[in-house]
Symmetry: C2
Subunit: 451 residues, 2 copies
């Protein structure tokens, strides 16, 4: 047995949700200890040092103007934001034909644009009918939760281009394929993030801004304010509760508290041992919220050569396996960085290759979009979040048909003295850093109200 | 640290799969130690003592004549089988109208019979096109795995009765709702069990026979033959592997072996800690194989009073929450036992009630079918498998859309020195005791071939 501690509240997981919960508790006069399995804070938010003080993010990165909580926090912590590079022309590269364009509307044939526009209008309209706090209460919830997003797309589009758009939308937003999640889940998540354009766009949308120094600074600053109440390298193995409190058992540390907030992804929450065992409904929920699949890749060049060619660095295309890219260079514009992703099925297929083969495939794809120079980076940094023991998938979890209607009401339901946080439990910007903050604040408020 | 043992192979889980694997290894001259979390063997197979030497099963119970492995094993172990009580008339009780009938075909209106017959013919025909060892290789696999069984049923039936049949089929066979799993999964599972009638029927089907003394005797007899090589009350927490072997760490026991066979349900396999961590594809598979939901209920009466009324004890009906029943009396016919189930959504809804409320609801349902006398049992024995820490759901796991095509090939893929067994990994009678045996024999053969 290791050290023993007594505190008011024990928080499991030092991602943004757990850290903000601990801070909110502290501000209300309640003492919290945060236990983190990794040797670092931030969870799915992680900086990578490029040298010279520059960083790129390997995890959560962009923030949008409608994400009020994260913007407010960033400002409070004295961090600065800067706009995602969004100048020059974007590329659309489909079926071997390359088109340059500016603005929000891709240069698709009119039939495809109409098809896409109509399906998006329909989808956004349905999304607004899904109550954020209770998607299972939507008027057509049962029907929408009976089918996959894939079958909805098949029925509601007529052109290959529109289908390709929705497939890339699934992968980019959910890190999953359209058949992996239900229509209702797609609608709820989309409503939670303000609609399709809000989720996928740059200007006035979720990819608008970045944080100088990288988003992990947010977590680090929060952790600094909590001082030695954050214990890293302390994986939690067991949580017992009785009528007076909880005992959280980690490697070499045992913490006794009145209540616990578990702020880790659902699948990991399900892997802790609980005494008494969790009720069936809660355990089944964690069985039914698998994580998405994403390998995030930053490709570093000596300079952002595409800018000189009048390009934004933003591509949408079908030169497998990379389907879209962003310019991810530091604020100074040097070095040049292209960020791209292997998501959903691509993450699974290319995740099986060895690193050299995967790099070759990714660079071939980028060379197709940006020319030969894209094939000769100075560095290549990848992060497969599914391979991380203490994450096991990104960006967030998703729900197959039947899950939201049958298990949704359990998502935020405390089990005795155990409360649940993490971006998957958010009703606004679920799956995003902003949602993580909402969830941590909500869990802290629950604990304070119960004390 | 507890005791340390050295052996050839360590088996995790003393269900039928693990026990038969250990026996097969022993027969080939390889020494195996089986570690079991519970204080008993059998896993999802569990007897309940009624007194006087009579038992009923709280878990896996029936065996069919096409289940060659389990029949052979039962005979080898000197156990006897007896036929499921199948005399007298069955009841069909829909929309408040009760009909008695004999034979396989329920007395539905002709339009419903035609509708049901056509949809079943279509479904069985498709099921046969799914290769048992590789469902993902079916010609239409992608398309069939894109949608739920629910949307297929909606498109392929026109009558409420046919839809009700497929809903009960889902619950009875998969312990899940039609929206919980993909069409491809439904087809693969059905093919693996010989077709729809083979899965749901009594004569010449999966419910034909029972084992005198209860099916847990099979597990107990296997365990006796393995003597002190089966360690109960020994939950495994961690499995490490290196180039020479594996170390399996349980509470108070550490076993070193050349290889490991993990023969527990996928979700529980995912909750063990592995070093090195399992690759993304394997971890994601365990994230994507949730267990079904079932509360199995044996209601005990002083005698099987329905028999005297010319009834078989078999009901199909819509007097919620019980949708079908069987006569589950011991071979002597005394006491009288009706077995029934809360499955899928019913298990989740009624699982939240307290035991007295649930009992009231179940007895009200049975009284509706069998008359007042059914409301006054001498005993009421229930088992909620989802609430069991070391099972977390029954009968087996299921797969949502997209899982079988994307993750199916990983199901039986050894990860280094770790092999996978359990009925979920079977290609024949997956989800059944017979499938558990196939999986254990297959895993043992893998280990022997690799040694």
């Amino acid at each position: 047995m290791g050290q023993r501690l007594d505190t008011d509240v024990v928080v499991v997981g030092a991602g943004l949700a757990g850290l903000i919960a601990a801070r909110a508790l502290g501000a209300a006069g309640s003492h919290a200890v945060v236990l983190e399995a990794r040797d670092r804070v931030g969870g799915r938010v992680l900086n990578h040092d490029l040298g010279n003080g520059d960083v790129v993010e390997l995890g959560g990165e962009w923030i949008g103007p409608a994400q009020l909580r994260i913007n407010k926090l960033v400002a409070e912590l004295g961090l600065e934001i800067f706009p995602t590079y969004n100048e020059g022309e974007n590329l659309l590269d489909l079926h071997g034909r390359v088109k340059r364009y500016t603005g929000e509307i891709p240069p698709l044939p009119p039939a495809a644009l109409v098809d896409l526009g109509q399906s998006q209008l329909r989808f956004d309209r349905m999304a607004k009918q899904v109550p954020l706090e209770a998607p299972w209460a939507a008027g057509r919830a049962e029907r929408w939760d009976e089918e996959t997003f894939a079958t909805w797309v098949r029925r509601n589009t007529r052109t290959a281009s529109a289908r390709f758009f929705w497939e890339v939308f699934s992968e980019a937003v959910f890190a999953a394929e359209p058949q992996d999640f239900s229509l209702l889940y797609a609608l709820a998540y989309t409503h939670s993030g303000g609609g399709v354009n809000s989720l996928i766009g740059v200007r006035n949308a979720a990819q608008q801004d970045r944080v100088v120094g990288g988003t992990q600074r947010i977590a680090q600053a929060l952790a600094e304010s909590l001082a030695d109440n954050v214990r890293v390298a302390t994986p939690v193995r067991r949580i017992t509760q009785d009528e007076h409190g909880v005992t959280v058992v980690a490697d070499a540390l045992e913490v006794r508290a009145r209540r616990a907030i578990v702020s880790i992804p659902p699948v990991l929450a399900g892997r802790i041992s609980y005494e008494p065992v969790l009720p069936a409904r809660r355990d089944l929920l964690t069985q039914k919220m698998p994580a998405g699949s994403v390998i995030k890749i930053n490709v570093i060049y000596d300079e952002p050569f595409w800018r000189a060619e009048g390009l934004s660095g933003q591509v949408a295309g079908d030169r497998s396996p990379i389907r879209f890219t962003f310019d991810n260079s530091p604020p100074s514009g040097s070095p040049g960085v292209i960020v791209c992703f292997l998501e959903g099925a691509q993450a699974r297929v290319f995740g099986r290759l060895d690193a050299a083969e995967r790099r070759r495939a990714v660079l071939a794809s980028l060379s197709g979009y940006f020319g030969k120079r894209a094939g000769k980076p100075v560095d290549f940094v990848e992060q497969d979040w599914s391979a991380e023991e203490w994450t096991r998938g990104c960006y967030g979890a998703h729900m197959a048909p039947g899950v939201l209607t049958q298990f949704g009401p359990v998502l935020r339901e405390p089990i005795g003295r155990i409360h649940w946080a993490g971006t998957e439990t958010a009703s606004v910007w679920s799956g995003y850093m902003d949602g993580a903050l909402q969830s941590g604040e909500r869990a802290a408020a629950e604990v304070l109200a119960a004390s």
